[in-house]
Amino acid sequence: MHRVKVRVVEDALDANNTIARANRDDFDRAGVTVLNIMSAPGAGKTTLLERILRDGIGDLRIGVLEGDVQGSLDADRLAHLHIPVTQLNTDSGFGGECHLDANMVRSALPSIPLDDIDLLIVENVGNLVCPAEFHIGEDARIMVASVAEGDDKPGKYPLMFRTVELVVVNKIDLLEHVDFSMERFDSFLDAVHPGVERMQVSARTGEGVDALRDWLARLPDRARAATA
């Protein structure tokens, strides 16, 4: 017996990325644009979605894929909006993962009416660390940071803030009650992801939400232009 070194040089997430591309192909075939929305737990993703989807996004037909470790609380909250909402629990056969990956999203595809929607919003598991590492076949990634979380988060979770193209700063209605400096936050963000687009919103009062709605409304055209 002797030892042989075998060169591999393969991305450790190659399998995930392969499945992500397969997801992407299925989404493209059905003409569906996919948004992956991430944040820490409690930053306000679901409340923002409730607010935006209550009035719709132009004429777009929307579907939502809710990712949580367990339960259907988020899907239940969106049920009254009369849009297709699928709940994906990472503890149902996936070991309670703290993030969605391409395989989990692929497993949910049969329950999503792809032919009846234009935009699929995937609300990821609340977590500032792991979701950033796993692509799921999305067209765009955005994250929500809330002013209640502290203005230094970009410096502490650089990968999450670098992997997205839009940072939505939520709960601005609380600014007078918290020690959050928007200037300090912007400065951390500009060091980690210089020039990244950002918006300030309050899901609670509705301030700034229309700008986010307009941003989302432009996604399908942008995705079509990218594949043309």
Binding site: V8, G155, L159
Partner: protein, 119 residues
Amino acid sequence: MHEFSIASAVVDTAVKHAQGRPVTVVTVRCGRLRQVVPDSLHFAFGIVSKETVCEGATLEFELVPARLRCEACDSEWEIEQPIFRCPTCSTAEVTVLSGEELEVDSIEVAQDEEAECIA
């Protein structure tokens, strides 16, 4: 936090390239900008590799430094802190040269003397 997912992926990749041969070493290159904790990965690897040809293999973890280049002034530098602006000219036209990789670089397998060539 997700080292188990990554360890599973590493074991699957190593098993694929081992083609049935026992694996003695798996070398993983992990960029400084990735969020992998080496101790957690070692721990997860030990568990996930059980009952595969990787059981008992040593996981070698190479940390790759984060090197950036400024497209405006051509300087190159290494970072320890997540600051993506050029220290020389302050622009944000920065490319990441290394530090974002997470790959199985190579494996070492035990092979019979007679079986020199594997298709």
